[in-house]
Amino acid sequence: MSVVSVEPSDTSLAEHARTVAGAVPDPEVPVLTIADLGVLRDVAVDADGRVVVTVTPTYSGCPAMDVIRGDVEKALREQGFTDVTVRTVLAPAWTTDWLTERGRQALADYGIAPPAPRPVGGPVPVILTARPVPAVVRCPQCGSADTRELSHFGSTACKSLWSCLACREPFDHFKAL
């Protein structure tokens, strides 16, 4: 999802900057890199070696953004990029579809149920009552679909809290946005 825009002669330098920035772990879910999470939007290096990194928040109030900006800057400086700017954009808004496949797998391996892909086009269910249709979320421990949501809101803005009725383990779900 992230795009590398560079001067033609600086392709390898930009690739390097992109690799370094993309490898920065998410401070709240450290098994994900910010590239896996899809919050790294762009890495550009100009002819003078100035790097401009563009990131986007998962949630409006995500408190990890300040840490991510600082970590990206630090990682690039350590690799010799002395002039680094990290800018934040809101549009287009991040959704959980920006999570990479590798990111989804890393979440599942870590014990966090990954989000379901959002439906794109086509028919959608019509909800006739104020009670929403419950989503099927599989337990990341035992794989059972016999689970229930304990709370929409979990330990970070991007997660909800669930319980597995088969293995009785509680777990986090990276909720679809």
Partner: protein, 257 residues
């Protein structure tokens, strides 16, 4: 706020400030629940919702300061304005009351904000559209959270029903202000920048009424309406909220983490 003779930019700053103040003040109120909610999941939920609102407020106040062009930052606007300079609605500043009062306020405000942002994300101002586009799905979670609680409490025990109804009665007089426009918003709405709040009313009423019907609750008929928040007139409790919110910043100017 005097709006009649202002050129376009201060109007836009004023509108961003209204949106930002609503989010900031409600976020502050919800933060008061942390460690006091009926269960730990609700401490977490209300803190999360407050954090979403604070995120919106930061971008909106920063933008208001930029458009104003007088060098005021998000912190200046949040922590160094006095009560009469805040232009949020009176609903969001109302004291939390018991959990049912807070859920009544949440149901109404999140329903309003969702309808507002769903339109504003397609508006003519790119920054306001981006804030709304980012927040609209978060606010859908807020509305769903409040909906589930209003259903559970309304259609619950005799006592939970009584308190949920009392919560709805408590906040109803503050709703009219949400859906009342003025010169500022009309002028910006004509340019496609702002959303005419009057246009949101049918959709919001339909949603809330459907929830209340299912929850076996009655929509109260208020005997009076609050007004004046958008022009800086606030209820008594707002000064107390500001004192707590602004105390640290004012006592230790320039302090940072």
């Amino acid at each position: 706020m005097s709006v009649q003779t202002q050129p376009a930019l201060p109007l836009l700053a004023g509108y961003a400030l209204r949106l930002g103040d609503d989010a900031l003040v409600l976020g502050q109120r919800l933060g008061e629940w942390v460690a006091h909610a009926p269960q730990i999941e609700e401490d977490v939920a209300l803190a999360n919702i407050g954090l979403d609102l604070l995120g919106q407020a930061r971008t909106l106040l920063t933008y208001a300061g930029e458009v104003e062009g007088a060098g005021r930052t998000e912190d200046d606007l949040a922590f160094l304005r006095d009560e009469r300079d805040f232009v949020g609605c009176q609903l969001v500043e109302q004291p939390n009351g018991d959990f049912a009062v807070t859920m009544a306020r949440q149901l109404h405000f999140s329903t309003y904000q969702l309808a507002l942002y769903a339109r504003l994300q397609h508006g003519a101002d790119p920054t306001l559209a981006a804030v709304a586009g980012k927040a609209v799905k978060e606010v859908a979670y807020h509305r769903d959270h409040a909906t589930q609680w209003v259903l559970r409490l309304g259609d619950g025990t005799e006592e939970s029903h009584r308190r949920m109804q009392a919560g709805l009665d408590r906040v109803e007089p503050y709703l009219e202000e949400l859906f009342t426009g003025d010169d500022l918003v009309s002028s910006l709405a004509a340019d496609g920048v702002a959303v005419d709040p009057e246009a949101l009313r049918p959709e919001c009423d339909a949603y809330v009424d459907a929830v209340l019907t299912e929850a076996t609750l009655q929509r109260p008929v208020p005997t009076w309406h609050a007004r004046g928040g958008r022009s800086g007139r606030h209820s008594e409790s707002f000064g107390h909220l500001l004192a707590e919110m602004q105390h640290l910043h004012r006592s230790h100017p320039g302090a940072s983490w």
